[in-house]
């Protein structure tokens, strides 16, 4: 029988090696897999590349990974949220590499990886510093930039509920990057607030079909 639930957060991320490329879902503090990130901090793999929209705030989320010195590089669109002190500190010390990607291009590159596409032309960023060194092309009179798919070894995600097959439903705006990252990683790991029985999720409202999910861990009640 297919059962993607694992016993706890620690076992969900225990095999993450040094140098892994890790997508982390969320936008601001919404839809962030805080418990999985804590488990990664405890396990301590080093030289990670983190792919996430933001760089965390205060001492939790992506900030915790940065503070622990586990991250060599960040690929993100907006590393400058309120309280992103750890990223700013490392960045000004030149102790971390930053690849800045427009948010829509970031999501679309993930989708391309997840959807088996070799790349796409987008008008976003054409004529700007973020297109520097990239192939460009005029299409229907408009400048476009060729962008490559962006995959990862792991995706760490957060959802509201999962069933044993890994079908996911989210709460309101907590979807953000989670569904698209689920498609783009070799190993997709999800923390959920609640487990659901098989058949208990509305098949019309499943935002991430279980085929994209490898492991699910249930957050402990606070």
């Amino acid at each position: 029988m297919i059962d993607k639930f694992v016993t706890d957060m620690a076992s969900a991320v225990a095999d993450m090696p040094d140098g892994a490329h890790v997508m982390i879902g969320g936008f601001g503090s919404s839809g962030i897999p805080f418990a999985l990130i804590d488990a990664v901090c405890a396990a301590g793999p080093r030289h990670l590349t983190v792919i996430s929209n933001n760089t965390g705030s205060g001492e939790t989320g992506v900030s915790a990974l940065l503070r622990e010195g586990l991250v060599d590089k960040v690929i993100c669109s907006y590393p400058r949220s309120r309280g992103s002190v750890w990223f700013e500190r490392l960045y000004t010390q030149r102790a971390i590499e930053l690849e800045l990607v427009p948010q829509g291009t970031l999501a679309e590159r993930m989708r391309a990886a997840g959807a088996g596409l070799g790349g796409f032309f987008t008008p976003t960023g054409y004529g700007t510093a973020l297109a520097k060194g990239k192939e460009t092309r005029m299409i229907d009179g408009r400048g476009h930039v060729l962008e490559a798919p962006l995959a990862a070894d792991y995706a760490l995600l957060s959802a509201a509920r999962a069933d044993p097959w890994g079908n996911l439903v989210y709460n309101t705006a907590a979807r953000n990057f989670n569904p698209v990252m689920a498609t783009a990683a070799r190993c997709t790991v999800v923390e959920v607030a609640q487990a659901a029985a098989l058949g208990a999720l509305d098949p019309e409202a499943v935002a991430t079909p279980g085929i994209f999910v490898d492991r699910v861990a249930v957050r402990e009640a606070l």
Binding site: G28, Y78, L98, P102, E108, P123, A129, R175, N176
Partner: protein, 216 residues
């Protein structure tokens, strides 16, 4: 003589008056979000938030309304209007880039005579740059309106012949609303047509505060 200047609320209200009924609108972080407070009575506007919401409504006022997951692009808590819905980032930016939003209202450091927009990076190399969804909005919305102070804090013009700050997008800005007036960029003529000069602002004062050719 220093020309009289409109308050941010005056500017936002002036822009809000130009938003048509039934429009799908994205309001950028900062000055632009104020526009929502000034849309005239009886006009229905549907607000889009890049993190995956159509139908963004006001801040929660009760514990019951408060949902920590339900935030806008500025990461502030909001509520959903009846008829609103959720989607993921890939679909949200498909909406933006695909020309489905009627209007994006953005802040700016500089706007050029050909409608180039610079609003994401300053010259401070030690401070991490951040772009977010600005470049996607710049290329994607059917109309891009800029809402900004007419000049920088040091008095230098922000409406310029050519941007010298890093660009967000090229040829994307149609209209600019400032504390001195309303301007329509004419990229072919490389100038801004003055749609409106606010009360007490002379054309000469405007010209002195502007770095591109103005046509009235």
């Amino acid at each position: 003589m220093t020309p009289p200047r409109y308050s941010t609320h005056d500017m936002a209200a002036r822009l809000a008056a130009d938003i048509p009924d039934g429009a799908y609108v994205n309001l950028g972080i900062g000055l632009p979000v104020i526009v929502a407070n000034h849309v005239p009575e009886g006009r229905q506007v549907i607000y889009h938030s890049e993190n995956g919401i159509l139908g963004v409504s006001r801040s929660p006022t009760t514990d019951e309304e408060y949902d920590p997951d339900l935030i806008n692009a500025a990461k502030d808590p909001v509520t959903l209007i009846a008829g609103g819905c959720y989607f993921d980032t890939a679909e949200s930016f498909a909406m933006m880039r695909g020309g489905h939003l009627d209007l994006a209202v953005l802040g700016a450091f500089q706007v050029s005579a050909t409608g180039d927009l610079a609003n994401w990076a300053t010259r401070d190399a030690t401070y991490p740059p951040a772009v977010g969804g600005a470049m996607d909005l710049a290329v994607g919305a059917k109309q891009v309106y800029v809402l900004m102070r007419h000049t920088a804090k040091d008095g230098t013009p922000k409406l310029v012949e050519t941007c010298d700050l890093p660009l967000t997008g090229t040829g994307c800005v149609r209209r600019v609303y400032t504390d001195l007036g309303v301007f329509e960029i004419d990229a072919d003529q490389r100038c801004a047509n003055v749609i409106e000069r606010f009360d007490g602002v002379s054309f000469e004062a405007l010209r002195a505060a502007t770095g591109m050719r103005l046509v009235e």
